[in-house]
Every structure is written in structure tokens, then in C-alpha cells.
């Protein structure tokens, strides 16, 4: 499945609530994540998405 701009945007959107509540989920397992760790994880996710978009994206998409 091609990673279109729209799909990439949706993935970014859904990553935000997951990132915000990551510390709660980690808390269930007695892991105390600092805020900076969450920021780094979200950043890594965005970077990964950019790479994937570069590899599998629509390239010069016109009618997004």
C-alpha cells in the first residue's frame, strides 16, 4: 500500500494521543518514563515516517 501524504498525516495525528498517554501505559508496568523520553520516541517515529515516505511515498504527488 502506498504511503500517500494523506495516510502519513493520519498516522502522525494518531501518534499524538499515543505519545501523550505513553507515560500512563508505562506506569502500569512500574516504568517511569520522563517527558524527554516521550519526546524522543515521538521524534524517532516522525523521522521513520519521513524515511518511509521518501522510500515508498507518492513522490511528486499532485492532486492530494
Amino acid at each position: 500500500m502506498k504511503l500517500t501524504k494523506a495516510r502519513a498525516l493520519i498516522l502522525i495525528a494518531f501518534s499524538v494521543p499515543i505519545a501523550i498517554e505513553l507515560r500512563t501505559v508505562a506506569g502500569f508496568f512500574n516504568v517511569e518514563l520522563p517527558l524527554i523520553a516521550v519526546a524522543v520516541i515521538e521524534f524517532l517515529f516522525l523521522a521513520l515516517l519521513f524515511v518511509l515516505y521518501g522510500l515508498y511515498g507518492e513522490g511528486s504527488e499532485s492532486a492530494a
Binding site: I12, P17, R23, T24
Partner: protein
């Protein structure tokens, strides 16, 4: 479902109706712009990020925000949607364009009066203000102009409903044996619910608040005006939600590339809302002294029953959308999600709105539980909850729907789809930040409705993260939301200024997979359902109201006492019901 025959567009076929829809949308969008600006001011002020107003003016801003968004924006927009839906599904123009303009005019005049009274609060020495918040019950008191504007607005909505019932009656004469078209069915059941519920607020405004603000009566019974408000205040929630449901049931499946799963199920859902949305208002008053716990318990039980139509909706809409995705070639258990038309801002906005509504439903169940409600009552949790429901499920669906509806009434193509997509995603992200932090702040005990949520010698604590982070999240989310509204208004403005097009949008709506033919005709018997709804309301409210009047010092508070005969009869009824309830409870528990 009757479908607009291919070729001719709504604006060509029904030019008068399109003009009414445009006028309603215009007022809705102006209110949205002002209200969102006030929202930004609040979000930045309460979090101490940026303060442009005096804290003493906070309630003026907050009243403007609540009234312009939750009452004016939503209701004007839904009047536009309903007017469109009636004309297209009955396939006939309104009976009288003049009459339609009359209700638009009346509602607009009412809005202007109420808004002037609210904004008057910014001008000291003017002697006019309405810092009563959008719930406007006593003991807060507004200038009479505010209540008069409100009354005109409500009467305007009554006339709009009459307009649609007249269209339906005329259609019925030509089609004596046909099933009511689905969209018309949705509009009519919603309006019946609205008539039943606005009676409460009309009585409160006309008999108590207006005479009181004019000085004709000295006092009111505050618990009575609160109860009359909430008698209407819960159904208004469904008045906001039903147009969103109308779009989710009849338009979203088409945008997803499919068709509605089941027409009869949709009818059942709307009927359940008609029956159940009024006899639950007391669930907003769990902490009000003066209402017996038993009545609160009944309201809670009815509220939990409301989960049923909500879950039916979730099932039907998701099934229809999945059907659409599979029509578009989607496969697998979850992979079909990728096959949906995510580029289309109308689809994506509605889908995101639906997803957030699920989250709002969960926090709503906490609100509805009599005992856990005490944990979050009047904290920031509550605005966190309803910015997911009315503030997103409804508002975002309306904005997303506009990308599909506005071209139909202007005859021009949408100015920019990518900007539209960015706008709905920005709303989602902004709301995730703001609403999540509001919920958490509420759990920490931070109160709502205050410019200064700090106390001396007291620190709020959070289990994870810090209060500072929550403040930043609220401010950041509020800013993103405001920018999203700016993008939306900009896109719609440029759309309406664009060049006319022969085919501005694909407005065809396909028939449902399972049509109304097989379903029982009794579903369409509106008179019977209205009767049942009225009986439920009488059952749920007679005793609590009688108690409030009797124990709260009469109809007008300190004023008239209740006649002894009424009082004696009431005691008898009370004892009987209480003992019956206790017996029942003994059996159950």
C-alpha cells in the same frame, strides 16, 4: 431514501432553499469565528500563558464562548442541514419561502439581541451585561434583552420545525403509502424531541427569568430554574448530535465509497433518542441538594439506557464505512482502513470526529455514574469531556460536512482540499492536547469556570507529569484549535467567492444496503412515539418538580406557598412511591 436525480444540482433545483441554507451557514460561521477567538483567550488566560483581559471580564468571554458556539453556531448550522435534508429527501421545495425567511430572521434577531447583551459586559457603566454563562439559570441574572433574545431564538427554531412538518404534510398528500424518507424521518423525530424539551426552558425564561430581570417579581426558586434548564439541557445535547448523526448515517458511508448498512436500524436509533433524551436531565444535578437521591438514581438508569442507541450507531456507521472500504478494494481484518479516502477532508473530518466521540463517550460514562461523578463534578474534566462531544463530534462533523455541503448550495467548487485536510487533522491534534489535559487537570481537582484556578497554600498534584505540563498542553491545544478554525473559515470564504461550476461536488446519495421495506410500519407512527415520549417525561419529572416547588419555598422561591391540598396529595404520592421503590429495591438487592 429519495435521491436527488443525477445531473441537476441542489442550488439549481432548489434556489430558494439553497439561499436559506447559505444564510444559516453564514451566521453559524461568523459565530464560530468569534466563539473560537474567545476560546483562545480563555485557554491562554486560565493557564497564565497570556492575559489580554482582566480576570473580572472572564465570565463575559466565557458566556460569549458558550452561547455563540454551543447554542448559535450549532443550531444555525443544523437548521441549514435540516432545510437541505428536507428539500432533497422529499424532493420538493418548502411550502413558502417567505415563511422560511421569517424563522431565519427571528432567530437572527434573537441572536443579535443576546450577543449585544453579552458583549455589553465589556463596557463598564453601560448598565447592560449578561455574564450568566450559557446555562443562564438563577441566581446569576442577565439584562432582560438577553432573555428576550433567547426567547426569540427558540421561537424561531419552533417555526423552522413547523416549516419542515408542513413540507412533510404536503409530501404525504402526494405519497399516501410511501415510507417517510430516512433523512426526513431523522429531522422530524429530532424536532419532536426539541419541541418537548424546549417547553421547559420556555417556561423558565418566560415565566421566571424575564419577569425577574424586569423586576416584576422579587425572587425565583433557583432550584426550579436549574431543573427546568437541565430538563432542556440534556436533550439539547441530542439536538446538537442528531444532525451529526444524520450526516454520519446518510453521507459518511457514501463518502467512504459505500452505502448505509441498515435503514431500519437508523430509524430505531432516532426513536430511542426521542424517547430517552428528555427523562435524564437530572443527571446534571447529582450534587444539587433538594432533589431526592431516588430521582437521581432513576435519571442515572435512563442515562445508561442511552448507551444502547449510541452503540448501535457506532456499529452501523463503522459497518457502513467498512463496506465502503471493501468496495474500494480494501482487504483484511484491519488493512481495509488504509483503503478509505483519507484525502477527502469531508470523510477524514467526520471519521476523526467519530473516533473522538468514542473517547467522549467513555468520559461521559464517568460523568453519568452517580457516585464517580462526585470525583469530577465541576472540574475541568467536564469541559474536557464536552469538547470531545459537542466541541468535536458535532463541531468537527459540521466543519467537515461543510466541505461537501457548501459547494452544493453555492454551486462553486471547494477552494482547497489539502488545506481542508490539514484543517481537520489540526483540529484532531489540537483537541487531543487540550481535552486530554483538561481531563487530567480535572482528576487533579482543578475547577472549571474560573479565570484563576489557583488557591493559596494549596498545590494540585498529578500522578504522572506535572500541572505545568497540563497547562502548556491546554494552551498549545487551544492555539492549534483556533488556527484550525481560521483555516476553515478562510477555505469556506474562498470557496463561496469561487467561480460557478456545473458539477461542484458529487452529491448523489446511494440507497441503503438494507432498505426500510422489511421493517415494521409502526416505526413511522410519529404520533404514537410522541405520546410515549411525553408519558416518560411526565413520569420522570412530575414528582421531582413537585418536591422542588414544595420544599424550595414555592414557585417563586420566597414567594407563594403551595396550597395545602396540593401539598397533602403530594405527600401521599410521595409515601406510596417511596415505599414501592423500597420494596422493589429490597427484591433486587
Amino acid at each position: 431514501m429519495a435521491t436527488a436525480s443525477g445531473g441537476s444540482e441542489f442550488v439549481d433545483k432548489f434556489p430558494d432553499e439553497a439561499a436559506i441554507v447559505k444564510a444559516s451557514f453564514l451566521i453559524a460561521f461568523v459565530s464560530l469565528g468569534i466563539g473560537a477567538f474567545f476560546g483562545l483567550i480563555q485557554a491562554l488566560h486560565r493557564t497564565d500563558v497570556l492575559r489580554v483581559i482582566d480576570s473580572a471580564d472572564y465570565y463575559t468571554v466565557l458566556t460569549g464562548h458558550g452561547v455563540l458556539l454551543a447554542i448559535v453556531f450549532t443550531i444555525f448550522f443544523l437548521c441549514g442541514v435540516f432545510h437541505w435534508a428536507i428539500a432533497r429527501s422529499l424532493d420538493r421545495p418548502a411550502e413558502s419561502a417567505l415563511f422560511s425567511w421569517a424563522w431565519v430572521g427571528l432567530m437572527t434577531t434573537g441572536t443579535v439581541l443576546a450577543t449585544v447583551a453579552i458583549l455589553g459586559g465589556f463596557v463598564p457603566n453601560l448598565g447592560m451585561s449578561a455574564d450568566v454563562l450559557f446555562t443562564f439559570y438563577a441566581p446569576l441574572q442577565a439584562h432582560p434583552i438577553f432573555y428576550i433574545g433567547l426567547a426569540m431564538f427558540i421561537v424561531g427554531t419552533w417555526l423552522s420545525g413547523a416549516d419542515w412538518f408542513l413540507s412533510y404534510r404536503a409530501w404525504r398528500q402526494d405519497h399516501p403509502d410511501e415510507r417517510i424518507p430516512l433523512q426526513t424521518f431523522m429531522v422530524l423525530t429530532t424536532m419532536i424531541m426539541w419541541y418537548i424539551s424546549t417547553l421547559g426552558v420556555a417556561v423558565s425564561v418566560v415565566f421566571f427569568l424575564i419577569p425577574w430581570s424586569l423586576g416584576l417579581i422579587e425572587s425565583v426558586n433557583p432550584l426550579l430554574t436549574r431543573t427546568l434548564f437541565w430538563y432542556f439541557g440534556h436533550p439539547i445535547v441530542y439536538f446538537w448530535l442528531m444532525p451529526a448523526y444524520l450526516l454520519w448515517y446518510t453521507v459518511l458511508p457514501k463518502l467512504a465509497g459505500g452505502r448505509l448498512f441498515s435503514d431500519p436500524l437508523a430509524r430505531v436509533v432516532f426513536l430511542l433518542f426521542l424517547l430517552l433524551s428528555t427523562p435524564v436531565g437530572i443527571h446534571h444535578q447529582y450534587l444539587d441538594p433538594g432533589i431526592a437521591e431516588g430521582f437521581k438514581f432513576i435519571a442515572m438508569t435512563n442515562t445508561m439506557f442511552l448507551l444502547l442507541p449510541s452503540l448501535l450507531t457506532a456499529f452501523t456507521v463503522v459497518a457502513s464505512v467498512e463496506h465502503g472500504a471493501r468496495q474500494r478494494g480494501g482487504k483484511g481484518y484491519l488493512r481495509w482502513l488504509g483503503a478509505l479516502p483519507w484525502r477527502d477532508p469531508a470523510f477524514t473530518g467526520m471519521a476523526l470526529a467519530g473516533a473522538m466521540f468514542a473517547a467522549g463517550g467513555f468520559s461521559g460514562m464517568i460523568n453519568a455514574g452517580m457516585n464517580i461523578n462526585y470525583l469530577i463534578h465541576n472540574t475541568l474534566w467536564v469541559p474536557g469531556h464536552f469538547h470531545l462531544t459537542v466541541g468535536t463530534a458535532v463541531a468537527l462533523t459540521m466543519m467537515a460536512g461543510s466541505y461537501w455541503l457548501v459547494p452544493q448550495v453555492t454551486g462553486t467548487k471547494l477552494y482547497s482540499r489539502p488545506i481542508g485536510l490539514l484543517q481537520v487533522i489540526m483540529w484532531f491534534v489540537g483537541m487531543v492536547f487540550m481535552s486530554n489535559a483538561m481531563h487530567r487537570a480535572g482528576l487533579a481537582g482543578i475547577p472549571r469556570r474560573t479565570a484563576e484556578p489557583q488557591y493559596q497554600n494549596f498545590e494540585f498534584l498529578t500522578p504522572i507529569g506535572s500541572i505545568f505540563e497540563l497547562r502548556v498542553q491546554i494552551a498549545l491545544g487551544g492555539t492549534l484549535l483556533f488556527l484550525s478554525v481560521v483555516l476553515f473559515l478562510f477555505n469556506i470564504l474562498l470557496t463561496s467567492l469561487g467561480e460557478e461550476s456545473d458539477r461542484p461536488v458529487d452529491s448523489y446519495l446511494p440507497e441503503p444496503l438494507s432498505g426500510p421495506e422489511g421493517s415494521p410500519r409502526i416505526l413511522d407512527n410519529l404520533a404514537m412515539w410522541t405520546g410515549i415520549a411525553a408519558v416518560l417525561v411526565v413520569l420522570a419529572y412530575t414528582l421531582p418538580l413537585a418536591g422542588i416547588i414544595q420544599n424550595g419555598g414555592g414557585l417563586f422561591g420566597g414567594g407563594l406557598p403551595v396550597p395545602a391540598t396540593v401539598s397533602a396529595g403530594f405527600d401521599l404520592v410521595m409515601t406510596t412511591v417511596t415505599s414501592a421503590f423500597n420494596t422493589l429495591w429490597g427484591v433486587v438487592a
